[in-house]
Amino acid sequence: MASSFPDALRAPTFIRRLFSQFPLVTHPVDPHPLTVDDFQPSSSSTSSSSSSSSKCENTLYSFTTCADSKTASFNPACLKWQTYLRIRSIPFKTQPSNNHASPSGALPFMIVSPSSSSSSSSSSERKSQTIPSGKLARWIDEHATIGSVNTVDTDGGDYRAFLSLVEGAVRDAWLYALYIDPTNLANLTVPKYTSTVPLWPIPHLQGAQMRQAAINSIRTSSSSSKTATPSGTEIYDKAAEAFSALSTLLAGDTWFFGAAEAGVFDAEVFAYTHLLLTVGDGMKGSSGEGLVSSLRGFENLCGHEERIRRRWFS
């Protein structure tokens, strides 16, 4: 080959001599990255019905402490979806994670392996899918093995009004109690969210960041127009009012809106009531104590929390 080159293009002799000192090795071609199919050839070749029941291929990435799906997450948004997945009896495992892992920047998100979905016949659907939290509701409706008995109209006015109450007043109070109250931030929130980074200044800085994010979130939550300055007491009062309204809505029913089975709204309420009731003892002496005690005053809300906890988290 070298002979076909004109002399001017040939490498100088000393370089050729130098390079000839080293053997030229052709490495074998790297295989393609392993897909789930290569990794578990049995599940795709044999009938998938037996394997999907025995293994959990769905992973919910959330703020949690262990991989057991029965251990409740300590973040309301994650706990809501975890609860709803449990309610619809979809097998999954949880994976402790953080925001940086998520494609959308927010937890939870779910990675679904192909063999668990029943309609994995076409090859395009055989890749693992990532489902952000915004699309989880639809995915669950499409993939739940049993249809939900909960037939609450999620576009109805009342449903959306009460949902905005939970997402507004109750969420603001949760943020205020856990992130803005300095003692709770230091004692409850920071240790939980930064358990993986014990290096001294980092948890402290992350705590300050989370606090700032909570402040901004409360500022823009539109409980007030123009430039009103909310105060902690007002936020707690609003939350107590919201709990009272929710309690009236639930009345003596087992589930919200008189449904036959728990639904997304129950999961949403549970996410806050469960977390408030479990961290309640840790909030002694802080400003959030009044919030928890006002929640304890509504027996039917506590009963609702207990029903879900007993049935799906024990």
Binding site: A169, T227, S231, A242
Partner: protein, 410 residues
């Protein structure tokens, strides 16, 4: 007893106020208590309110801030006639709490989008409106804050805002070049039209998303919860929706969509407006203490500056906390200024009391040129070196005498 004063933002667009919550409070008062018991005060001064926002109610020396608090106060104050939610059942009261939050959450961004963030409306209508009732330096600060808040509230609608802005800027394009008639082909204008329709559809969906539940609930009833008299929810609805329906704007998308597709809501709002936001409301000039003057405005701006500059960003447990926050900030600033002043005066004192140094100018002639070099030294040094006589070497070691030869490299 003097009548209760309701402090609100200025009238605008043929409505008694430009703020939805103020309109709601006006509607509430005119439906709840007799006309002669209250007056409207256009103080435009949000610092009178205990929670820093209008509407605010003044009863004698007592202040109540915010729509919810006003409702609570009036209801607890008088006889049962004042409680316009009194006829509601327990579950309807719970719904009222929920719908309050729903109306604010969905309609506040839409009102902000229509009046403040749609740039054509802001530039042509809303921004000039503020100048009509605010005096010189204040008319630059307050609309700016309101606009900033509206932008923050509509942050989730960014792509829609961009579409509206693109649609608005289009008619200007052909003017810019002489070749406009050549470049704008029929094909292009058709695609533009398509985009305009797409934007309109998205705006319609945004409105329908929040209006459908309301329309469904109203369903041929006179009021939100039926019955024969309005409730607080009706007051809030008329507050928010009249700001979408009545202003004459340059980009009147909200008005057009409402009139085209939600005629039942339009007639409902019309009815409520005539009954509870009449044009003959009793007005009163603000008291001297509550007036928005340059002094009171400057005081509030300075008090709030730690928060508005982001130096102190916190939500304290109660409203006193905000005051304490800015007080502590200014105390800290005073402390720093005091420390700097003390340190400065100590240094100045030292500099003035130590022996004065004299500048010695050396003039030498090197290679036919005059070279000046300046040497600074204490007076005592010169005396010592002069007194030492022979020990010039030692004096040279002490004084950093600069030799002209060294400088020239000779």
């Amino acid at each position: 007893m003097s009548p209760i004063e309701l402090h609100v933002w200025n009238r605008a667009f043929g409505l008694p106020s430009l703020d939805p919550e103020c309109l709601a409070a006006i509607a509430f008062l005119s439906s709840a208590i007799p006309q002669d018991l209250w007056v409207l005060v256009e103080s435009n001064n949000s610092s009178v309110s205990p929670n820093g926002s209008l509407p605010a109610l003044k009863n004698g020396s007592q202040w109540v801030g915010g729509f919810d608090a006003i409702v609570l106060y009036i209801t607890s104050q008088g006889s049962e006639d004042y409680d316009i939610d009194g006829n509601l059942s327990q579950s309807q009261r719970a719904q009222a709490v929920a719908y309050r939050s729903f109306i604010r959450k969905t309609f506040l961004p839409i009102v902000s989008l229509s009046l403040y963030v749609t740039s054509k409306n802001w530039v042509n209508v809303t921004r000039p409106l503020y100048s009509t009732f605010l005096k010189f330096p204040i008319q630059y600060e307050i609309p700016h804050t309101h606009h900033a808040r509206a932008t923050a509230l509509t942050a989730h609608l960014t792509s829609l805002i961009r579409d509206i802005a693109a649609e608005e800027s289009r008619p200007l394009q052909p003017v810019s070049t002489a070749f406009a008639s050549i470049t704008t082909t029929a094909d292009k204008s058709k695609s533009q039209e398509k985009e305009t329709i797409a934007t309109r559809v998205r705006l319609r969906n945004l409105l329908a998303d929040s209006l459908d539940p309301i329309q469904e609930k109203l369903a041929r009833q006179n009021y939100f919860f039926g019955g024969t008299s309005p409730t607080t929810i009706d007051c809030l609805l008329v507050g928010y929706l009249s700001l979408l329906l009545y202003p004459d704007l340059s980009s009147p998308w909200a008005k057009e969509i409402l009139q085209q597709e939600f005629s039942s809501i339009v007639s409902y709002i019309d009815r409520l407006r005539h009954a509870y936001l009449p044009s003959n409301l009793p007005y009163k000039a603000p008291d001297a203490n509550d007036e928005l003057t340059f002094g009171s405005w400057a005081k509030r701006t300075i008090e709030n500056s730690p928060q508005s500059w982001g130096l102190r960003d916190d939500i304290p447990l109660n409203q006193e906390g905000y005051k304490a926050q800015s007080t502590s900030f200014w105390v800290a600033v005073q402390g720093i200024i005091g420390l700097v002043a003390t340190a400065g005066s100590v240094l100045a004192y030292k500099a003035l009391t130590t022996e004065g140094k004299v500048d010695v100018e050396l003039k030498e002639e090197v290679a036919g040129k005059e070279v000046y070099s300046t040497v600074r030294g204490g007076v005592g040094d010169a005396v010592e070196s002069g007194g030492g006589g022979g020990s010039t070497g030692a004096a040279e070691g002490r004084l950093p005498i600069f030799r002209a030869e060294d400088m020239l490299g000779i």
